[in-house]
Symmetry: C2
Subunit: 360 residues, 2 copies
Amino acid sequence: MKTLQVALGKRSYPIYIGQGILENSELYAAHIRGKEVLIVTNETIAPLYLQALENALSDQYRVESVILPDGEQYKTLSVMNRIFDRLLELKFSRQVTLIALGGGVIGDMTGFAAACYQRGVPFIQVPTTLLSQVDSSVGGKTAVNHELGKNMIGAFYQPQCVIADTATLATLEARQLSSGIAEVIKYGLINDAEFFDWLEQHLPALKALDPEALASAIARSCQDKAAIVADDEHERGVRALLNLGHTFGHAIETGTGYGNWLHGEAIAVGMLMAADLSQRLGWLPTETVERIRAILQAAALPVEAPSEMTEQQFMDLMAVDKKVQEGVIRLILLRGIGQAVISDDYEAAQLSATLQAFIR
Amino acid sequence: MKTLQVALGKRSYPIYIGQGILENSELYAAHIRGKEVLIVTNETIAPLYLQALENALSDQYRVESVILPDGEQYKTLSVMNRIFDRLLELKFSRQVTLIALGGGVIGDMTGFAAACYQRGVPFIQVPTTLLSQVDSSVGGKTAVNHELGKNMIGAFYQPQCVIADTATLATLEARQLSSGIAEVIKYGLINDAEFFDWLEQHLPALKALDPEALASAIARSCQDKAAIVADDEHERGVRALLNLGHTFGHAIETGTGYGNWLHGEAIAVGMLMAADLSQRLGWLPTETVERIRAILQAAALPVEAPSEMTEQQFMDLMAVDKKVQEGVIRLILLRGIGQAVISDDYEAAQLSATLQAFIR
């Protein structure tokens, strides 16, 4: 088992990464203060791991659960309210600990519910997808979607710990695994060219679920992200780099209806669009754009925008993104692999050319 | 105009108290960073003050508004969602400032919406009721209700400043004014016996809306509260004293249906119930209980529980209160006027006797 520490002063917490650690009750015990535990999970994950987790904890705690529907389209205020319904039916107090057992949607909603229940109770992340193991594990971003924009309602709220069990990836659909790999590739692109090289070599091992390769990729991604978050917990500056591909990607997720494109699929195209625009600005040679396209394709990720979306729809959806300041869309662009920058230094015509190149 | 500073380190902010300051654009300008302003108000307040506030700000900012229904029964996640709807329709960014123009319900919902929109944007409180001027102004507690419990979903989130215009109290219904006075009396009871004496003398002046008396009472209440909050922002200890009367009072508000009993009315009875139980424990002489009853009656506040509530209903509702720890109901009790204490040092039979004395 690997252990990483996310350094955030009083809110620091460990990430445990390993095979079969989901049922290790000692890992939990170090981070649960009260006697009440509510496991929040979904209909897909519950049959696979809920019983095992309940068994691991029920000797020491009063363990209850709530099972939500599975999918990004359910990451809403009204579905989150079911967590509050359950907590209040059970009369669970401020001493409760919530456990998020599932992917990013469960993690985001459970974390936000923990931030809000009685104005804040502790929670533990047990991410069961590659994407959530590398992304939601670090950073404390919790949220739900609004029909007019993704992740628009939420809180910065840190977990007590993260327990990332690589064994859970064996039950992941191939599309979900690829979606996670997109997020892993992102860390290489942002500020870790060495890791990008490593990924180009180890992509087959990751796709074959080699435990060593997975643990290395997860740990490196979390380290890269933790270093950025420790610098800028509330996204006032450098943390925005983590949104590489996300302004384009969120437009795709919203434009196609939450749940149709997976998050990693949408940001894969988004990253390639960012690379394309960077190339148009003269910041990136064509070979580098092609290298990015190649690794995304090798990971079975999409490299074109959804056929049903128009340029105008992209522009409208991108205009409500959180990175917009006073009407100007700030994008994360690339000056090289491992050299992402925040920039609004592009012409409308150049952005338009990129959008057109990816549409249809 | 009086100015008080609430000392919370980086989250410190001023409270301005005075006649006619609602339209003082300079007070706002010092605390608004971007160009976008959304005023959140309700159907009762909008016709009275919305236009004046918009006029004061529209030279310098893009000012928009959202008007919510009036009443505690609308302090819900789904009504709060209308604030998000409006913000997103307007494509307002993270640089927006929300202004809460109204009583406690508007303040609580707007503050919570500000805490959550894009994971946190600034907000300004413009409380227009006595209760919100003395209570919501200090402490950063924001929340909405759940059908199973009051204020169960929320955040600790501080405003940029509070602008308490005593002129707005002229349009307040008599019941609302009394409800605010209940909260003012609470500060005397908790830790300021001198203020309690002053209130016994100045109650007629407050009821007659004497501006000097009002400003003094508001400033003293805010000071008393700010001193406690500065010690314990997240209610891990002494801050719980501010809930004097609230465990009983929340049960009354929930039990009678939100909006039927005003908050101050419910906590008036709740404070008297706390005094009664304290007397049964031998901590308070009968004369003191009668002195408390007398000032509440002079303020036209209720001193008996709602006729439709049963002892069992009280016990059930009190059991979900946030002050409950591992099944034990901790109450705020009195060892004298100005000497509130947190205690679970009572027998079930004594609590039962108090409940029975107030029911029917």
